[in-house]
Symmetry: C2
């Protein structure tokens, strides 16, 4: 079963995504925020790798039908209409709008993910849809890679756990023994924490930073499993809901 | 408890080793081979990052008192006196000699490890000594990093498991909750596999490659815990047994 997990963009070899379906995972919080925005009726999310690019992209959009959002190291960006908390992306904020979003790690991982043949965004909230995207690829002979966003090039536990959940949904326990090392690691870590994902998420370095910034409620939201029936897919620099 | 695990040199940030004790871990097989050579009476192991550098270093040594060893992708190198199997580094081969060694991942990780204040080499075979090296550092206020060699920039399960063993020897279960994400991952993975480390090692991508190259016996040797009472330490480009 050809499902690989890349634990951080820093360990992504050039060419490694060629011919593969990619699910980018940034649980805290870009994946959750993007899925929430699209489930709330946003027309599209345009990921920008830095705040300057985000501002330029937003300047070309009708301000009544767009929202500029994002963060740097978890903190809001001056002049932006929203941060990176999924709580800010409900229907009242984004319905019918195009969101330009830049985050510390997630949008950079999305830029790298472009090397894949199809790119989707996955988190715990839409794990069922992300897993189905990978499973459908395997049925068509397209191998899959789960690309964890991590944190400043490092590995993050929350993304690894979500990757493990996706692997668990796609392979059987017997197939897990033939996986790559990093897939096996994600699978085993998820199996060890599956009974209380929110507790595991709250133990992470990233959660400790978010709690210090008073975003503790976001962790609860990001730890929900299968609450959003949406698959964000990236084409030509825009992320839209698959099938929308 | 400031013990970090770096799962691959590719995720090692510049400056991240500054002021820290470093244990480089390359279970299959550089760590095990270096520990075996020094425990067998080799005077020193000189790590070389590539075969050309290894040949130049060896050319300056008395051929009667030196051995040029190494591998590329697990395979022997033409013209070298030995490969990278610990079985080739017994007393009959290395007693009183200086070994020049180049391996695919381990010697490159050692080159990066130089940024630490003290650098040692750890594997399962000398885990007790490597853990004591880290614990003594912590007592002196020197934080520790376990640098996993991985495989061509990727993460490898066998090095992660050994890092988890070293973390387990240095921190209590209660302290483990305050570790960095990657340290916690290594710790949890080791705890899940500790009852049969050889089985876990045999399941790795690297072991499958070694078995295909007929080096299956090396895996058994590399999975032994605390069999060698030796701590290889690196100073000025030479690795010698600490206290020798």
């Amino acid at each position: 079963m050809d499902i690989d997990v890349v634990l951080s963009p820093a360990v992504l070899a050039p060419e490694a995504l060629k011919g593969r379906r990619v699910v980018m995972v940034d649980v805290l919080r870009a994946s959750t925020t993007i899925a929430t925005a699209l489930a709330s009726g946003a027309r599209a999310v345009i990921p920008a790798t830095d705040t300057g690019e985000a501002g330029r992209l937003a300047a070309n959009l009708d301000p009544d039908f767009s929202l500029l959002g994002g963060e740097r190291d978890g903190k809001p960006v001056a002049g932006f209409g929203a941060g990176n908390s999924p709580a800010e992306y409900g229907p009242e904020a984004v319905q019918g709008k195009t969101v330009v979003l830049t985050t510390t790690n997630g949008t950079r991982a999305l830029a790298k993910a472009k090397a894949g043949i199809e790119v989707a965004v996955g988190g715990f909230v839409n794990a069922a849809r992300a897993a189905r995207f990978l499973a459908e690829g395997l049925e068509r002979g397209e191998p899959g890679t789960i690309l964890c966003a991590g944190w400043h090039g490092r590995v993050s536990l929350e993304d690894t756990l979500c990757a493990g959940l996706l692997v668990s949904r796609v392979v059987t326990a017997a197939q897990a023994s033939g996986l790559t090392d990093s897939s096996k690691m994600a699978y085993a870590l998820y199996q060890g924490s599956r009974d209380d994902i929110e507790r595991a998420l709250r133990s992470t370095e990233h959660a400790r930073r978010l709690i210090a910034l008073d975003f503790g409620d976001d962790i609860t939201r990001c730890a929900q499993i299968d609450t959003l029936d949406v698959l964000p897919v990236q084409h030509d620099g825009r992320i839209t809901a698959s099938g929308a």
